[in-house]
Symmetry: C2
Subunit: 112 residues, 2 copies
């Protein structure tokens, strides 16, 4: 686990990228996928995720569709057209930011 301050500000970008790759996902699935992909180094809490998803939906970035698995509700999120545009912007901004930080902190790239 990273110190919590580091992860701040990256949640939105992570969510958007995952949705861009997987078309549609539900909240719990997102938390589990991030946990797996990062080998528990990044854990998205539900208290952080759900409010973010709701906010992005309210902004028209995400679209939802509800599905019933037995009696249990599952709420799928996917990117709206504006969402796809925003995702590209966020990702390129993040890549730029990482290069800037790498330069600023003089971090050597890992051997490929």
């Amino acid at each position: 686990m990273y110190s919590s301050e580091l992860i701040k500000g990256t949640l939105k970008t992570i969510v958007l990228k995952l949705l861009a790759e997987h078309k549609k996902m539900y909240g719990y699935e997102i938390t589990q996928m991030v946990k797996e992909m990062t080998k528990d180094k990044i854990q998205i809490t539900e208290g952080a995720l759900y409010p973010t998803l709701h906010a992005l939906e309210a902004e028209g970035i995400l679209i939802t569709e509800t599905e019933f698995i037995g009696k249990r509700v599952r709420k799928y999120y996917s990117l709206s057209p504006e969402g796809k545009k925003l995702t590209k912007e966020k990702l390129s901004e993040f890549a730029d930011f990482m290069n800037t930080m790498k330069f600023l902190l003089d971090i050597k790239p890992k051997q490929a």
Copy 2:
């Protein structure tokens, strides 16, 4: 300028790294150096910097010495032994974090 959420959580790491490289620096100097090095992409505000410096000093991470330039006070900060240790940890954590994010967001490294 990056969207402000991105920069969150990186301030402490940036300050520690700059102090490790330059032995001693004062607050205003730090803001200007970051501004220059990042070509205005990252601007550290004084409202964020000074409280951080004070906190790090209170924790024993930073040591201060005051100097007078004419009638004007200048407060130099440098790393304590604990500060040097913490800096190494923070930098390696950040490097690790960047690799994790690069993988998660599937970001291709820039050509050298």
